[in-house]
Symmetry: D2
Subunit: 357 residues, 4 copies
C-alpha cells in the first residue's frame, strides 16, 4: 500500500492534469494499493492540511483539460521560511501533515520557485518526486518542461493573427510574449510566427539596432515589421544596472510593461505607427497541445515507476530525448537560459531575424 | 466590358479577401469582359491614383487569407472634406481618378466611417456598391457583417484559455473585448466563453452591482469570476456626462483602458486579485472562420450580380437570412447597437449572467 | 417545485451539453425549486427508468464540452411502437416512468427521429419541450439547429487540409461530408473550403457534367479540383428510381459510400488520379464552436422560460433571428431540405461552383 | 555567385515551404549572389528541365502555408533507373539538366524514397543537400522529421472529436492513423488522444488480446474504447508470412484497410458496435504547427550554411537537440522504426495502454 500526496504549485499551465493523470494511471495499473491525497492550492493545502482523497475517476477525462484540478497558488520561497500571520511555522506544518497522513511520498508539480521549496522538504527528510511544469522552459536539468510547447502554440497563433493586420495596415506590431526572465518562449514563438525582430532577456537590445532593422526592411520594400518581445526584454544600458538600480528605475516607469516603452522609443525615432499586443495569461491556459500531452504523460508514468521503486529526491527530467532522474539539489535555484551563442539563435540570425544586438 | 475599382478601407478584418474574391469570381464567370482596378490602402489609393490592375489569379487562394491584399488605412470622414497637406481637394481627386479610369463603379468594403464616405461619393455622382465589413457588427441595415463571427471565435478562445487559469487560481479575470462603441462582440464572446459578468456600452454598469455579482458567486461556492468587458464599457455615472465632459475625464485617466479602471475598483472594494487580459488586434486578424467565408462569398457574389445589372448606390446587406440591397443613404451615419431589451440580452440574464445594471 | 426529466436522443452532436446547461441555469436562477431527472442513453433511460438526479454542479463547466453527459442512443421510430424483446410496451413504459416520478415535463434534445417520438409522447398526454439538435440542420420549423455550425467548421478544416495536398500533387480530391439526406452541411463546408464542385442530395448530379467541370478547370490552368460530396449525393439516374429499387441497387454496391463510386467513374472517364477522404464521425465531435454555444444557450434559456410558464408541446426554434415556439405536430416527420433554387445555391453558382447539374 | 536547384519529392507534408524559405532566407542574407531554380513536381521537373526561377518574393509569406509551392510527385526508386515511355534515361537527363544550368548544388526535400534517389545523384557526382520531410518520422539518421508533429496534431484532433462521440454512445471507435510501415505517428497521436489501445506495425497484435483489453475496460465500468490503429498495423499471424505471401493475402482482402478488418473481428467476437474513422490525407495537409515551423526553419538555415561552405552529400538531421550533418549513404534505404522496447512504449504501457501484444 502506497500513500501519495500530490500538489501543483506556482502559476498554472497546460498539461498539469495530464501529468497527474500519468502518475495515477501508472500507480493504479501497477496492482499495488494506492491512496492519493490531493492537496489544494499548492503548498497552502499541505501547510493547512486542506486535501481531498482522489480516485481514478478524478483523473479520467482530464488529459485534455487545461489548468489543474487541485488548484494552485504562489508562495515566494522566502516567505516559506517565515511564520504565517497566526505565527504558524509553515515548514513544520507541512512536515506534520506529511507524517500525520503517513505519506510515502509527495509528488510536486511546479517551476523554479516550487522546486526550491521541494528541495527544502527533501532536506527536511520528506520523500519527494517532482515534475517540471512551466511555460517558461527555464528549469535547470531538463531540456523541456510541459506547458512550454502549448504556450508557444498560443503565442504563435497571436503573432499569426497580428501578421495579417500588420501587413494590411503597414504597421509595426509588438507582440509581448511571456517567459519571465528567459527568452525560450519568445524565441520559439517569434521564429514560428515569422517575426522580423526578436528581443529576449539574454540578449540585451540596442534601440538603434532595432530602428536600423526596421528601416532596413522598409528599404527592401517591407511596409510592416513584426516584433516578438519577451516580457523580460532589457536594453543594453539597463542590463548594466545593478538589480537594485533597475528595480528603482522600473518604479518610475510610466508603462505597464517594457513593450510599451520600446514602442514609444521606436515611434519617436522613426515616426512610424507602432502597436502593442499583450496576450498575457492566455498563454498559460486552454487545452494542452498534443506534444505536451504525450510529454506530460511520459513524465507522469516515469514518476509513478520511481514511486513504486522507492526512488525519491528527484525531478523527472528530459535529456537527449530520454526521461532522466535529476537530483533535486541540482535543480533548485538554478535557471536554464538561452545562450546568446546557442545554435537556434545563430540559425534565427542566419534567416535574417534581428535580435537588436 | 466593365471597369471596376475596388478598395478596402478602415481597420482590416477577416474575410475581406473572401468578399473581394466573391465579387471577382462572379464577374469572371459571367462571361462579360472585366477590368479590376485595385486601389491601395483604402481611399488613399483612390485619392492619389495608386492602384494595381488585378486578374483572376490575384484572387485565387485568398478565400482563407486574413487581412486584405489591397491594404487599408483609416481616414476620418471629417478629414475627407479637408484638403491634404499639399492643398489637394481629396473628394475632387477621387472623382477625377474615377472618371480618368472610366470606371463603371466602385466596390467599397468597409465599416461605419467608410460608408459615410461611400455615400458622399454616391451623392457626388459616382456609382458605388459597398460590402459590410467590421468585427463590431455595428452597421445599420444589415443583421450581420463579415469579420464579426471570426472575431467572436478569437475572443472566445481567449476567454476559454483564461477560464482554466482563473479556475486554477481562484481569481477574477477581465477579458477586454473589442467592438468600438457597441457590445455585439463582447456579448457573443462572453456568452460563448461562459463569462459570469458581461459589460457592454449599451448597458452602463454600476460597480456595486458588479461587486454584488462577484460576492454572490463566492457565496455559492465559485472561487473565480470571468468578466467580458467591452472596450467601450461605461459606468452609469459616466454615461450621464456629455460627450465633451467624458472626453475630458478620459484624458486624466491613468490606465490604458477602462478594464484596468474597473479591475482597480473591484480590487479596492473586494480585496480580491483581479487580472486584465487585452487580446487587442488579434481579434481582427488570422484566417476567417467558415461562417464568415460563406457569408462574405455570398455577399460578394450578390455585389457582382448587382454590378452586372447596373444596380448602384447600395450596400449589400443581410436581413432575415436573405441578402438584401440597402440604399447607402440609409446606412451612412447610423449605428446598430444592442438594445438592452433584446431577447439575447434577456436570455443571457435568464442564465444568470450579470450586466452590472 | 418543478420536476423535470431530460434526455438526449439520436446521434450525438456538439452543444448538447451547452443547451442542457442553458435550461438548467435558467431554472436554477428563477428562484423556483427544481429537480432534474437525467435519463441515460436517450429514450432507453425513460423506457427502463434509468436516470440520475442532477444538480447545478453537473452542468458547471460543460458549456465547452462535446458529446452529452447523459449519453445517447438511436431507436428508430417504428421500433418505438413495438414491444421490446421481453414483451415490454415501450410507450406505456415511458408514460409510467413519467407519472411515477411525477414529472412536470420532459426536455428532449434530438433530431428528426427524436421529434417523431417526442410528438407521440405529447399526443399521449405528456408535457414535452424539445430542442433542435443535429449537425444536418434538416429539422423543419427552425432556420438553424445546434451542432450544425460546429460540424461545418470541422468539415471545412478537413477541406482546408486537403486543399494544400491536392494543390501540391495536382490531384482531384473528394471530401465526403455528412448530412444524412440533406445538403446543408456539404453546401456550407464546400463554400467555406473553396470547393470547386459540390454535390448534394437535393440536386442530383450528372457524371458528365462533373467531368466537364473538371476538364474546364484543367483548360483554365487549374491542375487540381476539390469536390465536397454529401454522403447522400445521388445521380440523376438513381434519383428516378423508387426508394425500393434504389435500396436494392445499393445492396450490390461494391464501395463503402457513394464518394468512392463517383471517384471511380471520374477516374475512368478522365484518367486522372482521384482520392477520397471521409472525415466521418469527427464531424459530430469535439468542443462546440462559439456560434453553437451562444445559440444552444439561448435556446436552453428560452426552454427554461417556457417550462416556468407551463408552455408545453413546443420545439424551441429559431426564425428570422428570433427564438420561436414551434408546435411539435408541425415539426414531426418533416424534412427541411436545400431548395435547388435557394439564393445560397444561386450565389454558389455565380462564383463558378458546379453542382454537377 | 551560387546557382541552386531545389525540389520537393514524394507525398507532400506540412512545413515544406517553411524549410525552403529557411534555405533561401539564409542564402539571401549571406550577401552572396544566388540564383534559385525551382524544379516543378519533384524529380520530374529535374528530369524534364521543368523549372521556375525563384526570387525572395516567392518565399515571402509561405512560412505558414501547407503543401509545397514547387509541387511534388512520387516516382518509385526502381523506376528511376528505367527509361521513360519515350526511352529517355532519367538519371542521365537529371545530370544533363544539372550541368546545363551550371548548378552548384541541389537542395532536395523528401522522405525515404526521395533519399534513395538523392544518394544515387550524389554517387553520380552531383552536389546534393537534403532535408528530412515526412509525417512518418521514419528517416534514418535524424530524431525528427518536419511534418511529423503537425500530423500528430491533426490525428490527435481527430481522436479528440471521436472521444466525445464514443463516450456519448458507448461505442468502440477505431481511428486509423497514417505512418506507412512505422508506428511513430500512431503512437504519439494515440497517447495524446488518450487512446486505450494502440496498434503499430512494429508490435504485431493478437486479436484476442485486443478483445481482452476491451472487455477488461467494460468490467471496470468504461462503456467505450478508443483505438488508434496504424495503417500498417499487422497481426501476429500475418507478421510471420513472407512479404510475398502477405501481399497475396492482401489482394483477396475485402476491406479498404486493415482497420475495417480489425473492426469486423472485434464485432464478431464481442457483439459490440465498432466504428472506423480514417482521416487519411488530412494528416499531411494544412498549416504547419509552430514546432514544425521552427524546426524546418532551423534545418533550412543550416542547409543554407552548408551550401555557403560548400559542404555537400549530407542530409541535415537532428540528433539530441542539435542540428547535425548525416552522410547521405548512411540515410538511404534504411528505416527508423519504433523499438518495441523503447521507453515511450514502456511508458504508454505503464499508463495502461494495450498494444494488443
Amino acid at each position: 500500500m502506497k500513500r501519495i500526496g500530490m500538489l501543483t504549485s506556482g502559476g498554472d499551465c497546460q498539461a498539469l492534469n495530464a501529468a497527474m493523470r500519468g502518475v495515477v494511471k501508472c500507480l493504479s495499473c501497477s496492482g499495488e494499493a494506492v491512496e492519493i491525497y490531493g492537496f489544494l492550492e499548492g503548498y497552502k493545502g499541505l501547510i493547512y492540511g486542506d486535501f481531498r482523497m482522489l480516485t481514478g475517476a478524478d483523473f479520467s477525462g482530464i488529459l485534455t483539460k487545461g489548468g489543474t484540478i487541485l488548484g494552485s497558488s504562489r508562495t515566494p520561497f522566502k516567505l516559506m521560511r517565515e511564520p504565517d500571520e497566526n505565527g504558524l511555522d509553515k515548514v513544520e506544518a507541512m512536515k506534520q501533515n506529511y507524517y500525520k497522513l503517513k505519506l510515502d511520498c509527495l509528488v510536486i508539480l511546479g517551476g523554479n520557485g516550487t522546486h526550491k521549496t521541494a528541495n527544502m522538504l527533501r532536506e527536511e527528510g520528506l520523500n519527494v518526486v517532482t515534475l517540471p511544469k512551466t511555460i517558461d522552459n527555464d528549469l535547470w536539468g531538463t531540456d523541456m518542461t510541459f506547458g512550454f510547447q502549448s504556450a508557444v502554440d498560443i503565442a504563435t497563433d497571436c503573432i499569426d493573427c497580428i501578421h495579417t493586420t500588420a501587413a494590411s495596415h503597414g504597421r509595426i506590431f509588438i507582440v509581448e510574449v511571456m517567459g519571465h526572465k528567459v527568452g525560450w518562449l519568445t524565441l520559439n514563438a517569434g521564429m514560428a510566427g515569422g517575426a522580423d525582430i526578436i528581443l529576449i532577456p539574454e540578449i540585451p537590445y540596442d534601440i538603434d539596432k532595432i530602428v536600423e532593422a526596421i528601416e532596413g526592411r522598409a528599404k527592401r520594400g517591407s511596409k510592416f515589421t513584426i516584433m516578438a518581445v519577451a516580457e523580460g526584454a532589457i536594453s543594453k544600458a539597463d542590463a548594466k544596472l545593478s538589480k537594485k538600480e533597475y528595480k528603482e528605475k522600473m518604479k518610475n516607469y510610466q508603462y505597464p510593461s517594457v513593450s510599451y516603452e520600446i514602442a514609444d522609443e521606436i515611434q519617436k525615432k522613426t515616426g512610424l505607427d507602432v502597436r502593442v499586443t499583450v496576450p498575457g495569461h492566455t498563454q498559460r491556459g486552454g487545452s494542452p497541445c498534443p506534444y505536451d500531452r504525450v510529454f506530460a504523460t511520459r513524465l507522469g508514468a516515469e514518476a509513478g515507476k520511481m514511486i513504486l521503486n522507492g526512488e525519491y529526491g528527484f525531478m523527472v527530467g528530459y535529456k537527449n530525448r530520454e526521461i532522466v532522474k535529476v537530483p533535486l539539489e541540482e535543480v533548485a535555484g538554478k535557471l536554464k537560459m538561452v545562450s546568446p551563442d546557442a545554435t537556434i539563435v545563430q540559425e534565427a540570425k542566419l534567416t535574417g531575424i534581428s535580435f537588436g544586438d
